[in-house]
């Protein structure tokens, strides 16, 4: 299963953390640990990493400790890191990261790091449409997008009734003009410079 989904930027600041197994230690140390493992690897190395060091963090204290692997992908300023056990196919997870990114991109229209900061709840909702309880729920971007839209609609409706002052609020993907700092990393992905 997938034990953790982490997104942090190139300076190691976590942008999204989700653990599917209870943590033994503080999540910050874990993120730092993974960050130091991942960021020291050159671009030409593979996207997989054996991580026996992480086992103490993820509650596998019994002696049949799982062999955890870190599968990561770097998109411009962000690292997408999945910690998985041997039951998952490494390349499959790599594909899944791509699906997750594409889903984020759909929902936010050219997603950038700031989207994940300001819309952390939305990012979590999207993640919950891709992975549930550490297991792959859906891999079809259309389907994920549809579910996300559906939830957004329901939220919008209930929100409108909750706050009479609001004039509909923002739909998915609307950002305040002042916050617009697109990083164009998604285009980077499409040209395939870094992404593998």
């Amino acid at each position: 299963m997938i034990h953790a989904v982490l997104i942090f930027n190139t300076s190691g600041v976590p942008r999204l953390t989700k653990f599917y197994t209870p943590l033994q230690q503080s999540s910050q140390t874990l993120v730092q640990k993974i960050y130091s493992l991942v960021s020291s690897r050159q671009a030409s190395l593979c996207n997989f990493l054996d991580a026996p060091e992480l086992e103490s963090f993820l509650g596998q204290t019994d002696d049949n400790g799982e062999k955890l692997r870190v599968v990561y992908r770097n998109y411009a300023t962000l690292y997408f890191v999945f910690v998985v056990d041997s039951a998952e196919s490494e390349l499959g997870i790599l594909d899944l990261i791509q699906v997750f990114v594409e889903s984020l991109d759909r929902a936010f229209e050219n997603v950038c790091e700031l989207d994940l900061v300001y819309h952390f709840d939305e990012a979590h909702h999207i993640l919950s449409e891709v992975i549930q309880g550490g297991l792959v729920l859906e891999t079809n971007v259309e389907e994920i997008d549809r579910a996300v839209q559906e939830a957004a609609k329901a939220r919008k409706e209930s929100f409108a009734s909750a706050n009479p002052l609001s004039l509909g609020g923002g739909g998915v993907g609307s950002r305040g003009g002042t916050l617009q700092t697109p990083l164009h990393w998604i285009t980077d992905r499409l040209t395939g410079v870094r992404a593998r």
């Binding site: 196919s89 490494e90 390349l91 297991l135 792959v136 939830a151």
Partner: protein, 955 residues
């Protein structure tokens, strides 16, 4: 939208604006204090609660510890507004874990949302259970989740979530889920049209099937069928193609699911599977430029290769795969190299001969020097798996050389592996000692105690080795710096066997002592203690250096360490006893050989490797470690066990029963009903009364029983076509053709209702797989259209005498999930062929075979025809329907029937059978005598022919 809450946006902006960590912390503390106060004051409306909880969540995401907001989150969950509910659920899933006390408070709200008629509420609830579901939730809500999963009214996206939620609950608390009972219902969902549902259900099935292999056996067929549809027939919706590869996740899952089962015996499934695997491999022959496409294709390919190896490590498919793998391990792409090595290690662990892998030994050894540690690890695993007697010299040598430059994290594992390989594939003891000592001196700190214990064990148990080992270890000790582990080995070996080399020049006692003692000062207390023991042994064998040794003891009597001090005192006392005393000699007797025991090294290594959760289907160096859980399971469920409870009855049918009847004289005509029929009935009903769960666990369908089913079956035992089963929904008809020991049965399945039967599954079970093989010519279609009929061919081969007809089980969804299991009319008489015999020949053979045990005789009551006469016509029909040739004019009594036939069996050859039927009109009884060259055949034939003729016959 979170940003619609202005307070929250401001909060986030403030934190982003904080230039230093202290400011950020200050801002957060201030906010938390404020929120705490607000919560305490109470009287918050939904919007405010939502806003504050959102702030708490954000703080949590930043990595701060938060201890407030739990109660408010619980309140938000039961809110009627979706936006509030959503934040509430988000908080619950992020802030709480499965053992949280607060969860008790939300169980009821979650149940309410599960039962709500609103799908997105259902989804929120499911998602929460899947993330934080603990014992209590599992017990309270498993049923509701299962209902959502199987309900025909559930939306696809609800079913997907329900499947995974159930999986999570099962993983955490398997005892809550009646996995075996739900098996057929859950597996039937693998036929769903929506691929998203199929992916999730497959994940669920994969977890359940691992623990309940037999109960979920149907999924094998489903998985093969689905792969066939995806890969060969390209039957999938366009949206599920990921960069032109049809749902790689599903393919990977299915391929892996198949690896949990032993390779299938069914030729049809096997062929399809090989075709699929071949197609997958062909697809990868031409790499494209698109990275994502390649990734996806390789993901599938690697699983496919894994499955191919699992099915048959020696098949041509695997040779193809080896060629591909060879290309991969020298690929420029690091990911591909990594996976290539990983998969090759699997091949090496499973294959019978390693030539194909060995051809690439050079490349693999080079991979040890790869710039990426992940690749290096895989190369190490592969070298470990592919090592055998022939290449152990090279590989171990190479590993030793690499050990000196290897990453620190890798060394301990390497040492273990080298030690195991050295021991396992040692050509000569000399090589073993050399290598291990080199290992110990090279790896130093990374040598676990197990390694040197093992050396000592082996040296002690191998007499030829002792002098040599002593000499080599002495040489190692002479080098200026030796590692402590080496000192330990040296101390032990020289103490025990130093005297063997003491007469050679350069190895004199005093030199041995000096070398060893010079190391003592760099060692820890336990090592020094070991050295003291060595010295006392030397006092015994080297009287010439006794003085120096006693000196050492003398000095150690004053050290602070208790253990050392005690040893020194005791040894000193022992050493200074008068020379004629024998205590010392007795104490220092040579150590006896160790009892042979398994190497502790492997236990250690396998402990490091075992997995929880989804089991890996193999381990590195598979032949080394016994822990091959999935593959070790026996091929077929032990069906014999089921009949254990009815064994008395079954054996009665086979043999003793005939003997019983014979002891009854023909005149004992008061037998109201034949014991055979009675016993057959008990065995039948006992099988049926076995606990449902037990049957389900074994994957044995529960036979559908009613008067009609038995009648239909019985009729078909002596005719070649007719109805096997019928109810309001379906009709099953049979047409059969037999030739020699081979037969073909066409099963016609008709849908009688005006809706399609979906998720249709047909399965065959044989209780005696050694004697009778049955298999479908192709996989049954998963849908039967309204008022349509489908035909399934069953290939049958009789190998030996069998007594149990195979079971055909059908299941389908028509509104609800239905399943039917009936016996197919394939009985031993079907494999009889006519034989023509004259009167003389017949009697000659009749006499030749003689009485019991090769004769089986029974007397049974019969019903007369309406005319009051014996129903000869019917009797003849049954006998000739059972493929016996009725021989007229042999028996003088015209109402008697005499018949003969030859039974064809693939393994047991041909068996001749003779039969005589003697009805008695007045007594309304009939005597049947069957003589055959095989006693089993006689009894079985007698039973089969008698059944439709006796009054117990159901027709």
């Amino acid at each position: 939208m979170a940003t619609s809450m202005r307070g929250l946006t401001q909060f986030i902006a403030d934190i982003r604006g904080a230039r230093v960590r202290e400011l950020e912390e200050k801002r957060i503390n201030k906010e938390m204090a404020n929120i705490r106060k607000r919560f305490k004051d109470g009287n918050l409306d939904g919007y405010q609660k939502k806003k504050y909880v959102a702030k708490v969540i954000f703080t949590y995401i930043l990595g701060y510890k938060v201890d407030i907001g739990h109660m408010e989150a619980v309140n938000l969950i039961s809110s009627m507004k979706y936006s509030e509910k959503q934040i509430g659920y988000l908080a619950v899933t992020l802030l709480m874990h499965e053992n949280s006390d607060f969860l008790r408070l939300v169980v009821n709200s979650i149940r309410k949302d599960l039962n709500e008629n609103n799908e997105i509420y259902n989804c929120l609830a499911l998602h929460a259970i899947a993330n934080v579901g603990g014992q209590e939730m599992a017990e309270a809500l498993a049923e509701d989740v299962h209902r959502l999963l199987i309900s025909p009214t559930s939306e696809n996206f609800v079913r997907k979530k329900a499947a995974l939620t159930l999986l999570r609950l099962y993983r955490k608390h398997p005892e809550v889920i009646p996995a075996a009972e739900w098996a057929s219902r859950i597996v039937s969902l693998m036929d769903d049209i929506d691929l998203g549902v199929v992916i999730c259900v497959t994940s669920l099935v994969m977890a359940l099937a691992q623990d309940h292999l037999e109960a979920y056996a149907v999924c094998y067929q489903k998985a093969v069928d689905r792969l066939n549809r995806l890969v060969i027939e390209h039957e999938y919706t366009a949206t599920y193609a990921y960069y032109k590869v049809p749902s790689p996740w599903l393919q990977v899952k299915l391929l892996r699911l198949l690896q949990y089962y032993p390779p299938t015996e069914d030729p049809t499934l096997r062929n399809i599977l090989f075709e699929v695997l071949q197609a997958i491999m062909n697809n990868c022959a031409e790499p494209t430029r698109n990275v994502q496409h390649n990734n996806a294709q390789h993901a599938v390919l690697f699983e496919a290769i894994g499955l191919a190896i699992h099915l048959d490590p020696n098949s041509p498919l695997v040779s193809t795969a080896t060629v591909l793998l060879a290309r991969f391990i020298s690929s420029r792409e690091t990911n591909v190299r990594y996976l290539g090595l990983d998969t090759m290690a699997y091949l090496a662990a499973r294959a019978d001969h390693l030539e194909a892998v060995k051809r690439h030994q050079g490349t693999i050894i080079l991979s040890l020097r790869d710039k990426d540690i992940s690749v290096r690890r895989r190369a190490l695993d592969l070298l470990y798996s592919m090592c055998d007697v022939d290449n152990s010299d090279v590989i171990v040598g190479e590993l030793l050389r690499y050990l000196k430059v290897a990453d620190y994290g890798l060394r301990e594992e390497m040492v273990l592996k080298i030690a195991i390989l050295t021991e396992k594939y040692a050509g000569t003891y000399k090589w073993y000692v050399d290598t291990i000592l080199e290992l110990i001196s090279a790896a130093g700190d990374h040598v676990g105690d197990e390694v040197w214990y093992r050396v000592v064990q082996i040296v002690t148990n191998t007499e030829d080795l002792q002098a040599y080992a002593a000499r080599v270890v002495f040489e190692y000790l002479k080098s200026p710096s030796s590692h402590e582990s080496l000192v330990k080995v040296g101390g032990y070996i020289l103490g025990e066997y130093g005297h063997l080399i003491a007469n050679d020049s350069g190895y004199s006692p005093i030199e041995q002592f000096q070398v060893l003692h010079s190391k003592s000062q760099f060692c820890m207390a336990p090592t020094r203690a070991l050295l003291l023991s060595t010295y006392i042994k030397w006092v015994n064998v080297f009287p010439e250096i006794k003085e120096q040794l006693v000196n050492v003891f003398e000095r150690y009597r004053h050290v602070l360490d208790v253990d050392l001090q005690q040893r020194a005192c005791e040894f000193y006392a022992l050493a200074t006893r008068p020379a004629e005393d024998e205590v010392l000699q007795n104490v220092c007797e040579e150590i006896p050989p160790f009892p042979a025991r398994e190497s502790a090294l492997q236990t250690r290594l396998s402990r490091k490797l075992t997995d929880a959760g989804d089991r890996r289907t193999w381990v590195h160096g598979g032949s080394v470690t016994l822990d091959r859980q999935a593959t070790r399971r026996t091929t077929k469920p032990a069906l014999g066990d089921i009949h254990g409870n009815g064994s008395a009855a079954t054996s009665g049918i086979d043999g003793s029963n005939g003997a019983n009847d014979i002891t009854q004289s023909l005149m004992g005509l008061d037998l109201s009903s034949s014991p055979t029929a009675l016993q057959a009935k008990t065995s039948f009903s006992e099988l049926q009364s076995a606990p449902a769960q037990f049957l389900a666990e074994k994957g044995i369908p529960r036979l559908t029983t009613n008067h009609n089913v038995e009648r239909w079956f019985e009729k078909l035992t002596y005719s070649s076509e007719g109805v096997l089963y019928e109810d309001v929904q379906i009709q099953v008809g049979i047409k059969s053709r037999f030739h020699g020991h081979i037969g073909q049965v066409a099963v016609y399945i008709g849908n009688k209702i005006s809706a399609p039967l979906t998720s249709f599954t047909a399965l065959l079970h044989t209780e005696e797989p050694d004697a009778l093989s049955v298999s479908f010519a192709k996989i049954a279609p998963s849908i039967i259209a309204p008022r349509m009929q489908t035909q399934q061919l069953v290939n049958v081969e009789c190998k030996k005498v069998f007594t149990k007809a195979p079971i055909l089980s059908l299941s389908f969804l028509a509104g609800a999930h239905q399943s039917i299991a009936v016996r197919l009319p394939i009985v031993v008489t079907k494999f009889l062929e006519h034989v023509k015999l004259g009167q003389a020949e017949f009697f000659e053979r009749w006499k030749l075979i003689g009485g019991p045990p090769r004769e089986s005789q029974a007397i049974f009551p019969i019903t007369l025809a309406d005319s009051g006469f014996i129903n000869t016509e019917r009797q003849r029909q049954v006998v000739s329907g059972s493929c016996l040739n009725i021989l007229d004019g042999i028996d003088p009594n015209p109402s008697n029937i005499v018949a003969a036939g030859i039974l064809h069996m693939a393994e047991d050859g041909n068996v001749g059978c003779l039969m005589r039927l003697e009805p008695n009109k007045d007594a309304k009884l009939c005597r049947i005598t069957v003589r055959s060259t095989s006693e089993n055949v006689a009894a079985e034939l007698q039973r089969l022919i008698q059944k439709p003729l006796s009054t117990d016959a159901v027709s």
